[in-house]
């Protein structure tokens, strides 16, 4: 019989892993299609970093859950209602480089602060994974932030397009900070930390870059898509999973 704490720990790991994996899958759509060779390689690198992060957290979840679970099971044998990623990362980029960079920047700033806290986790596996991930995320934030500034403070067209990306993605940022009983239990055990506590810092971080980029921050309106914690997603996730899971679903005996 699994303890409530272990159950919560599995959920907690899957949420982080799912978010990184789905984000990586979106970014990897650029592989071979980047605006220039160097950026193509950079984005593939970022996607690989994120896949690496998800693998770490999936493996830990599998270890706690036992019962023959593996990282591949979580990635390839679950349906969309079982995925716990935030809605922001599953949104399609529609071949808009600025949109991809804005998404990487907004989510990256959040991940940076989250991993910074998790490095102090009483769970040694979690703190170890956080310490490894934060170096990668630090680079993602710098890379994406640099592009947000250059596109925002670039030509009239690049400014308008990156402003549109910000307007479109901003409502999704509320969900980043959502927490539930899983978090409460882990927080009380010193394994996780209250995300609300770094919300002001996150806001300051992104506003600083938007000021440099001459972008105006949209007002917080009431429209705030949500559902990731419960596995309720936008219409886009199913298509993404269909492509990502095609091979292991069609050929269940396939091995790496």
């Amino acid at each position: 019989m699994m303890t409530d704490l272990n159950k919560a720990l599995i959920d907690f790991c899957l949420r982080i892993a799912d978010n990184s994996l789905i984000h990586a899958q979106r970014i990897s759509e650029w592989t071979g299609h980047g605006p220039i060779l160097e950026e193509d390689i950079a984005m593939s690198n970022v996607a690989l970093d994120l896949i690496g992060q998800s693998r770490g957290f999936y493996t830990y979840a599998a270890q706690i859950e036992g019962d023959g679970k593996t990282e591949d099971f979580y990635a390839f044998r679950r349906g969309e209602r079982e995925f716990r990623n935030k809605l922001m990362v599953e949104q399609p980029d529609n071949k808009d480089f600025g949109f991809t960079m804005m998404k990487l920047f907004l989510n990256g700033c959040f991940d940076y602060l989250m991993f910074r806290d998790l490095m102090k986790s009483t769970d040694e596996t979690i703190s170890g994974l956080a310490a490894k991930s934060i170096k990668e995320v630090t680079y993602h934030v710098r890379h994406a932030g640099d592009w947000v500034v250059r596109l925002g403070d670039g030509t009239e067209e690049s400014h308008q397009r990156i402003q549109n990306s910000l307007n479109e993605l901003w409502p999704y940022t509320n969900e980043l900070f959502e927490q539930d009983s899983v978090d409460t239990l882990l927080i009380s055990n010193g394994i996780a930390f209250d995300k609300e506590k770094f919300r002001d810092e996150w806001t300051k971080m992104v506003h600083e870059i938007f000021a440099k980029a001459t972008l105006s921050v949209p007002e917080n309106n009431t429209y705030s898509p949500t559902g990731g914690l419960k596995g309720i997603h936008s219409e886009h996730l199913g298509y993404l999973l269909a492509e990502m899971q095609y091979l292991p679903r069609t050929y269940p005996d396939a091995v790496w």
Partner: protein, 96 residues
Amino acid sequence: MESNHQWPTWEVFTQKKQGAPHEHAGSVHAPDGEIALLNARDVYSRRQEGVNIWVVPSDAIIASSPEDAGAFFDPANDKMYRSPNFFKTADGLKQI
């Protein structure tokens, strides 16, 4: 989309370990130095090739031309005494 104008190129130098010289690794396209540095990191150090990177605008490099080769390099080829070939070295010393 029109893409017949290219960003300038930057020469990339990577240092394999602390204290070692920076060696030319290749070049990247980038609109400015900061992006050139990030591109260089992604293209030339993704397999842990280095601990430090320099990027230099390609047009800042002054190169000798092939026609200069005779005057520049040939006078050195009969001056063995400029190489430390005649020193006795300790056994087991692999390089000077």
